[in-house]
């Protein structure tokens, strides 16, 4: 890795101010994604601004009944928090199913949201990659693409977002709170990550000098029966091929409300609003859930090696919805 200068931010303002005076500066929190990237020259910052000692480590109840999660709360602390286990079990399970205990102990909420794709071509600088170097080409389109996107991809990039936690945050309608040179703003989770389009180099709508300060989780009583199902090549310590975060709200046997998000299928955590719309008011049974799964995948465009993920995703969606409708026990 190249060398860089290092400094510790003394406040949120100080971090933002330093970042806005050097366009080659980068923030570092847990470092579990960034250090890895620095080692293979994916990023070559002039300076690292260490934000890990700032006061953003609190988990606080919101007046609305939701939860405010400081961006430096570690993945472990968030998954272990009693209110998360109780009220948002899909979030606790999504986090626990990701990486390993060693990584989760250090990884922060802010860093997790901003982790970059694990597309092997992006990681290997011997290959061109539109995400790394705009207009250089996308070898995944014609190369080995079994882990790549089914939904919302472009002819410039078929990479998927690797985070598990983000799939649950998408289902839960989280809001990202950020501070930039112009002050604070809030970004709804669905608008935070981007589809690749013609600008695959941009993963999110965050500006480089903006710091994530917190994630806000609105209250969602039926999230108590939420589930997270992750399917991968080995039982643990591997990224998802397909994952599903789902929660079903039942009145008698009818679906009153539902949340459905899918991981491993797109450049962003994929919230399936069409399937949600279809489900509302229907009877909660296997046939309905199967139909919803079909709807969620109807615009899938499989590549040469990832066609199996279409069926995998459909079955995972059906199973997750069934489990949540049955009370959420995994």
């Amino acid at each position: 890795m190249n060398n860089f200068s290092y400094s510790r931010a003394t406040s949120v303002q100080n971090a933002v101010q330093r970042a806005s005076t050097d366009k080659n500066a980068m923030f570092i929190a847990g470092g579990t994604n960034l250090v890895d990237r620095l080692k293979v020259f994916l990023d070559e910052p002039s300076q690292l601004i260490d934000v890990s000692r700032l006061e953003m480590k609190q988990l606080e109840p919101l007046a609305s009944g939701g939860l405010r999660i400081g961006s430096l709360v570690t993945n472990t602390a968030l998954a272990d928090a009693p209110e998360v286990r109780r009220n948002y079990p899909m979030l606790a399970r999504a986090i626990l199913s990701g990486a390993s205990q060693q990584i989760r102990n250090v990884a922060t909420v802010g860093g997790n949201i901003l982790q970059r794709t694990r597309c092997p071509y992006y990681y290997d600088t011997a290959f061109p990659c539109n995400k790394r170097e705009p207009d250089s080409g996308c070898p995944a389109l014609t190369g080995i693409n079994r882990t790549h996107a089914l939904l919302g991809a472009s002819d410039q990039c078929v990479a998927v977002h690797p985070s598990d936690m983000c799939v649950a945050l998408a289902a839960l309608d989280a809001v990202v709170e950020v501070t930039g040179p112009k002050g604070k703003r809030q970004i709804p989770f669905g608008d935070f990550h981007r589809l690749p389009g013609n600008t695959p180099e941009r993963d999110t709508n965050l500006e480089p000098e903006e710091l994530i300060t917190a994630i806000l989780l609105p209250p969602l009583p039926f999230a108590k029966s939420g589930v997270y199902l992750k399917l991968r090549d080995r039982a643990s310590y591997a990224f998802a091929l397909i994952s599903v975060a789902a929660a079903v709200d039942l009145a008698e046997e009818q679906i009153k409300d539902v949340r459905l998000a899918i991981g491993g299928v797109a450049h962003k955590p994929w919230r399936s609003q069409e399937a949600e719309q279809f489900l509302i008011g229907k009877a909660a049974n296997a046939a309905t859930f199967e139909e919803a799964a079909k709807i969620a995948l109807q615009s899938a465009k499989p590549l040469a090696h990832n066609r199996f993920k279409v069926e995998l995703a459909k079955r995972a969606i059906k199973r997750s919805l069934m489990l949540s409708a049955a009370g959420g026990v995994v």
Binding site: Y6, S7, R8, G31, D36, R85, Q101, I103
Partner: protein, 196 residues
């Protein structure tokens, strides 16, 4: 708050607390904790398997929690308590986790062992503190030490790979540590299962 700043790319002064001793060093900000331990402090117990957070050989304890030292910048560890495999034994007395690995043949070549042992030390502590894992059936009722199933042990140690595949012995070591009776050593089982 103390501010460490280097305007030129070069070595900075860093003081680390490793195995209870303060160590002052001049290192570049890009140097990982793993390389600092091995190359600057002569603590070669922590191993470099992958250097990318994918194997666990570099696992050490930072403020009591297990972390991969290959993904941690040393300069970011100032003020934290770092414990490596070299810091576990008390004089000539092995740490109970070290002893259990020996009792249960929890190793072959030994390369992954320092990381496995540090991870196990932390694992026991996590269970005592009530942490759940991805496979814990009820997140609100995590298993106590004595109830830790084989599947829980494997899931909780999945961040440490063993190229020699000494997993049976490693799981047995953990079972012994939590007061369970581990199955007999693999060799015994094989002898018993051999046709007469």
């Amino acid at each position: 708050m103390e501010v460490t700043q280097s305007t030129v790319s070069g070595a900075v002064a860093v003081t680390l607390n490793v195995n209870g001793k303060k160590r002052s060093l001049a290192i570049e900000p890009r140097v990982t904790l793993l390389d600092t331990l091995r190359e600057h402090l002569g603590l070669t117990g922590s191993k470099k398997g992958c250097d990318h957070g994918q194997c666990g050989a570099c696992t050490v304890l930072v403020d009591g929690q297990r972390v991969y030292s290959c993904l941690a910048l040393a300069v970011m560890q100032e003020g934290k308590e770092i414990v490596t495999i070299e810091g576990l034994a008390k004089d000539d007395v092995l740490h109970p986790v070290q002893a259990a690995f020996i009792d249960n043949d929890g190793l072959q070549c030994g390369y992954c062992t320092p990381g496995q042992i540090c991870a196990t030390v932390a694992l026991l502590d996590e269970v005592k503190q009530g942490s759940s894992s991805a496979i814990t059936p009820n997140l609100e009722h995590p298993p106590q030490l004595a109830e830790l199933s084989e599947a829980e042990i494997k899931e909780r140690l999945s961040g440490n790979l063993c190229r020699c595949s000494a997993y049976n012995g490693i799981v047995a070591a953990v079972q012994q540590l939590v007061g369970q009776t581990p199955p007999s050593a693999a060799a015994d089982v094989m002898v018993k299962e051999m046709p007469a």
